[in-house]
Symmetry: D2
Subunit: 306 residues, 4 copies
């Protein structure tokens, strides 16, 4: 999220505005925990995981009186518009402030990638790289041991992270909350892999899958798959780490555009990334043209370097 | 590219076809350097950089007689359709084969990202992550030394890699082949950074920029910017490394779709990724809905796991 | 281990010997699963995790008749001496062969670092780096969440990996098989950290600690520490990954020396690394002299490059 | 260095002392740029590259009057003893203060590893891992391109980093300041590699080698080695990055012992790591005993966690 904070601050300063950060999300908003952010305050933060502004869960923000208190704090601190960065809980809070007449634009950030209105939320790509690196390491020793490695990923209600990890790492089976999969089905897939000559198998299980990683292990160990099973639970390791290039890039783009839209008087929207469709282009066209570098990024780079 | 090779082979096998690999690109095509590829041959290759099929430059493929020889080899080996993975040179060769009536579909792979018809080629994301990690390391010691770090990235004719690295890593200045930038302009940007209190500066220079990294260093050292300069040339380090999650994902998607299109009788096209636009969605909508996991990937994961 | 295999093969070839690899450890030794290894066969393997020769558990090797069968296979394949790479089980097998009169030298490789006779076994440093990176990622999000992260490391009987991870990552508490620690003691350490203003805590737990990671979590959640707890189980991820510089270096040194000792007619020993003592030297001496590069490594580099 | 700073501070606090940091090394010492350091100030810094106290070159510290000024500042700030962390320049300054009667203990930190009195300085292992990762990436694409990759490492007067990188990464040739090597010798080594069937070659060149990386490239390109050459210059990338497990461990040990020695009234020494000898132990002994976990580290972990 730090890359988004940096882009928001530098774009705002570039447009002649002042920028303040709200610490600990809506909790800080309600309590007036604000801090001035200058260009230097957001220097050297892009490469850090987490967020310099810290986060907090604050269900109390659903209460109208807490929202009114937040509005009072925003006015008291001379704030005219808000950029809200986070997942669907954050967007619900942002929608509430917008309904109360306060200008707000949202930026999606959630490793579950379950925010509506964008193909990718900030954090997903970094988490995927962390998972994929872990599975690569499992494979190194897997070959000689006749083992099933069961890898639990985050995702209580949403299987995106598990599913993408499964595709990317070539898992034999992926269990997600959106689909019912039995231990028997997993055993069949593994046994087939064994029969095809595979010396190991990878099963990716979302945290919220109906059959949990540990439960799956117990069931598999009671069957005759030809493999021993081992469980890896990455847990919050998936939330950290220096952000990937892709995450830094969409965070910067979201940050710039969120502020520009607020500056144009827009409110009540969330920026997002749309339509990563696979298309086909005639080879005749492809082989005669060059993709042009999007020089819009040049302008963006200059602005953010300030 | 290995993830694309794996997806092509497994999709083909899944559709009841046989798969062969051509070693050393068009050179191997003209010489008949073919090898059978089964499901197990492409197991355990996704995480490796480079390509198991090797590559080669082969300008002779522009000659009609060499293309005819390639067609003979394809027929002699019982090949009915070709998937060509590579950059614009590869696509020119593919277009030639298509014009000669041979079914071919292209998949873009080039760290320069200059292939027309796709927003991202395979390899770009991995290269960007490598560059960004290197720049993160430069920053660690940068703070205390009053230094300008000049980082040369690949890109002879195309500034994409340099430009994206610049945005992502917050470079003070980025020099690309598509834009003229003088050492004086760089010196001004650095001096302004110095005046704003920055203790270091990053300048990213594409290999093909009109002012090369070493030449820029010499010029800057002759000016009075308040900084000493140091050059980092990553070179072919950018081409290697275990592929990022994103690269593995688009490679898998390209591979599956390329084969499916050939199976449907299409030819003469390159698959690509389109339209990563930034959009805005009403917060009211966002906060009431959940992005659904695209279960199409589930099918894809199962197929590729075979 | 691949770096050790490479060093053994190239040193042997450099001394005019032939080299063979035994696949799947003692199981392969008893079954005669041998393969010729030339200089090219061990090119490009240093950076890979695991071992190209594969491993296997083979308790049957304790039987005298199986050991005799191994001796027959060694003779049948014209093998005069053996380098055995592995943990304490491997060394027991090697000692047995030596007692039977077959020349053998051992090289210690075990991420538990419990092999007697060496300060570091191959694999420990790589595993430590993997654990430390994971804990770094946990810290990124830890700050804002009032959480205890419980990280389970490998080590059934030996707490080395857990203990070193604890020192290196600044864990609040480390639980190892060699020491009894109660959940109450952990709770006290965490509560004190909380009282000192810490927003999170890390507890490292060896796999074989008397209080397991999951059990500790349950107990902590029932106490009032001011923190929620989360478990990360890295599992076999710790065994994989491209080896660290240090592991490659000791593996190369062990490999060279093991073969040289066999060539000199020695047998029945294991090579090891000794005495990493912290010493003190007069500043007067330090400030007047330079540490000299050990040019012995130059000779070694040349030999291994063959 | 941050891990050493943390260990020094926490050990001092544990012994009932107060701790102050000196910013920008001897320059800050002479100017009185001191800052109080509590247990929390050194929390969360271990994983960061560089040093939170910043560094600076300050040749003026060789002047007696500047040293006297430093002594005055130390007294004015109530400092009784100093821990000096750095390379040989730092140790010369520390020796001078000791001669003037001020209690000082040194800790070696230098990626060149040329400090006398220790086998490893802080920073060397991290730099080696960075170099080795870069060379691994070069190899990925090397296979198919008939190329020599020339990699320049740091080391103006000292070839340690280059030599170790060469051993570790299996370079065909390593050029260091301590040895004269001609382009012809390099060409011979490469040509032999070519003749042996190698498709690529790696040459590691220390910054201070008599034949520089760029000069070597030009000479090789004029010869007929069968390879094209490419240069990679990592530069200051080698100085940054999250420290390796090993570096964090020796930094912690050095920090603890440096303070303990000062507390016992010692001065004028530098702590260091000694004698990483390769030894041999009887397999009979090895196979009957277990290496015991050094529980001294347990005490250390507890103390540093405070």
């Amino acid at each position: 999220m730090n890359a988004a904070v940096r882009a928001v601050v530098r774009t705002a300063l570039g447009l002649g505005m002042r920028a303040q950060g709200v610490r600990r999300a809506y909790e800080g908003l309600a309590r007036g925990d604000f801090t001035d952010l200058g260009a230097r305050d957001v220097g050297g933060i892009i490469q850090r995981g987490g967020t310099v502004l810290q986060t907090a869960r604050f269900p109390e923000f659903a209460k109208p009186e807490v929202q009114q208190e937040a509005l009072r704090q925003l006015k008291a601190h001379g704030v005219d518009a808000l950029v809200a960065i986070g997942g669907d809980g954050t967007m619900r809070g942002a929608a509430a402030l917008h309904r109360l007449g306060f200008p707000v634009v949202g930026i999606p950030a959630s490793i579950d990638n379950d925010v509506f209105g964008t193909d990718m939320s900030i954090g997903v790509d970094t988490a995927l790289n962390t998972i994929v690196e872990a599975i690569d390491k499992l494979r190194d020793t897997a070959a000689s041991h006749q083992r099933v490695f069961i890898v639990e990923t985050m995702g209580r209600d949403c299987g995106h992270l598990a599913l993408m990890s499964g595709v990317i790492s070539g898992a034999e089976m992926t269990l997600i909350p959106e689909m019912e999969t039995s231990a028997e089905e997993v055993a069949v897939a593994i046994s087939q892999a064994h029969a095809r000559g595979k010396t190991h198998a990878i099963v990716v299980v979302a945290e919220g899958a109906r059959l949990a990683a540990n439960a799956l292990k117990e069931k598999l160990d009671g069957m005759n798959t030809g493999f021993e099973s081992r469980v890896t639970i990455l847990g919050h390791v998936q939330r950290g780490g220096s952000p990937s290039a892709w995450d830094r890039l969409i965070a910067a783009r979201f940050g710039v555009i969120a502020v520009e839209r607020l500056a144009r008087g827009e409110s009540g929207v969330m920026v997002g990334l749309q339509a990563r469709e696979i298309i086909a282009t005639e080879l005749e066209v492809v082989s005669k043209r060059k993709r042009e570098t999007d020089l819009e990024f040049y302008r963006m780079a200059r602005m953010l370097a300030k």
